[in-house]
């Protein structure tokens, strides 16, 4: 339905879009995405995607890379926010200006906005009564 309307509406718009598209695809071939082509090819082949065109594979790789970099930058912002919140004085700042580590906490916060809900276990206990007060434990 959508496509019918598009066909009917305007060929002018389509030409613009085509120009944009071809330009984009050309620029895509210059850029080598970090995610290797073989990996992307393997996984999209698993999902049934069939296409002999390598540009589409690059497109998928670039789109994924964009997504991951967005998530990473969000997580970085969370991490920096936590670090700056702890700063009290100069001494603390120097202490806390340590390496920026990608933690599960920051990652889960960042991914929540993208619809991915991750809950990470802080620790694993042997039994339900591990760590409990001995008096309250059932013997």
């Amino acid at each position: 339905m959508n496509q019918h309307q598009q066909v009917n509406e305007g060929s002018g718009g389509r030409q613009d879009d085509d120009a944009v598209l071809s330009e984009f695809l050309a620029s895509l071939m210059d850029y080598t995405p970090t995610i290797p082509d073989e990996l992307v090819e393997h996984y999209i082949a698993k999902s049934g995607f069939q296409c002999p065109d390598v540009r589409l594979i690059r497109l998928v790789a670039v789109a994924t890379q964009k997504f991951i970099s967005e998530v990473a930058s969000d997580a970085l912002q969370h991490c920096k926010a936590r670090q700056s919140a702890v700063i009290k004085d100069k001494r603390d700042k120097q202490q806390k200006d340590k390496r920026l580590v990608l933690t599960m906490e920051d990652l889960s916060k960042a991914l929540r906005e993208y619809g991915v809900n991750i809950k990470h276990q802080d620790y694993f206990a042997d039994s339900p009564t591990t760590g409990m007060d001995p008096a309250t434990r059932d013997e």
């Binding site: 620029s27 850029y31 073989e38 999209i44 049934g48 995607f49 390496r99 990608l102 906005e113």
Partner: protein, 365 residues
């Protein structure tokens, strides 16, 4: 750019070990981890929690698969088997619904004309190119399976009408024809009790002889020596070394039942005699005799030191796979508890107890 050298080195090790296992699954995940780590490094991170990295790699793979699935279903919806760029963009739109992009609200939009393309092209132009460090081979590698020669290739014609000649040849009939099983040895020890007693009776005499030897301190040859019997036992025990007549002391060095010379001259031998006599003479249940024997054992604790490990081997090796050893296994099972107790106390009397147990059992039977 600092590569985080230690990290990529670690990834390399992981990659090499994981690449060995199974399908391309582990390998793909390792590659994804490396790629994701590089992207995050470009974003500004200096190190990662391993679980966070693995989670993000997993999400990457899911994203790729989701995108492929969406694009494929859009292509199928349009009646095509192969996807094209429009399908991919439509799939991207679906995935980007939560975040949104410019032009999403426009109902009649073309997927290509939307802000999505612009965003991606912006990303491409602005983003610094970070190359993947390794050369990734095409995976998974599919092993080529070579089919066997067909009937035509060999020059034969298929034996059946319904089997065409271009199909692979049938395997050689010798491979699947069932041949008669090799006959078990006639000396196979039968499991039922009547035969068991027969076997035990065969063993009885030489064992009695052995016991007598202890009582006599090996001074004189035993009275019950029966050459015919010995011959038959030897003949019967041809296949089974445990059923053959026991060797006299000094006859053979390596036999487990051979005791070192000092045992004979040991003054503690009379203690054994004490224990042996009541055991042999009683005709009771094994439990009672066991108790009494234990009492006797408790009273007298000879300090005889043997070279050991053999009796246990006798019993445990009897548990082995050979069917010949079933008699020994049977007897051993009965006396296993006794032996364990002894082992706890001394651990050295089992060899001496062995024949005595057997004689006691035989008496009981």
């Amino acid at each position: 750019m600092s590569n985080g050298g230690g990290e990529s080195g670690e990834k390399e090790c992981e990659q090499s070990t994981k690449g060995r296992f199974g399908s391309g699954e582990e390998f793909g995940r390792a590659i994804a981890k490396i790629a994701v780590a590089q992207i995050c490094e470009g974003a500004g991170f200096q190190s990662f929690q391993s679980s966070a990295l693995e989670t993000l790699a997993d999400i990457t793979i899911r994203y790729i698969r989701n995108l492929g699935q969406n694009a494929n279903s859009y292509a199928n919806l349009a009646g095509r088997a192969e996807s094209n760029v429009v399908d991919v963009f439509q799939g991207l739109e679906d995935l980007g619904m939560t975040q949104g992009f410019i032009g999403l609200s426009d109902v009649n939009r073309c997927p290509i004309g939307s802000g999505l393309v612009r965003e991606i092209s912006q990303y491409v132009s602005l983003e610094e190119e970070v190359l993947f460090p390794f050369n990734v081979p095409r995976f998974p590698v599919v092993k080529e399976r070579k089919a066997g020669p067909s009937f035509l290739q060999v020059g034969e014609s298929s034996p059946e009408d319904h089997v065409p000649d271009w199909l692979p040849k049938f395997p050689d009939h010798l491979l699947y024809v069932s041949s008669p099983v090799w006959n078990p040895r006639p000396l196979d020890v039968p499991v039922d009790k009547t035969d068991l007693t027969k076997e035990q009776k065969k063993v009885e005499r030489p064992l009695m002889n052995l016991q007598h030897q202890f009582t006599c301190n090996g001074s004189a040859p035993p009275v019950f020596a029966d050459p015919g019997d010995a011959a038959t036992t030897k003949g019967a025990g041809q296949g089974n070394p445990f059923l053959s007549a026991p060797l006299w002391f000094g006859e053979k060095e390596v036999t487990p039942l051979v005791y070192p010379a000092k045992l004979e001259s040991h003054p503690q031998n009379h203690v054994l005699e004490e224990r042996v006599a009541p055991v042999i003479d009683k005709v009771k249940s094994s439990l009672d005799s066991e108790d009494s024997r234990n009492k006797i054992i408790l009273n007298s604790r000879p300090s005889v030191q043997f070279k050991l490990g053999t009796s246990k081997k006798l019993l445990t090796s009897a548990m082995g796979l050979s069917p010949q050893r079933k008699t020994i296994e049977k007897t051993a099972c009965c006396f296993e508890s006794d032996d364990e107790k002894d082992e706890k106390k001394r651990g050295k009397e089992r060899i001496v107890k062995g024949p005595m147990d057997k004689t006691q059992e035989l008496d009981h039977l």
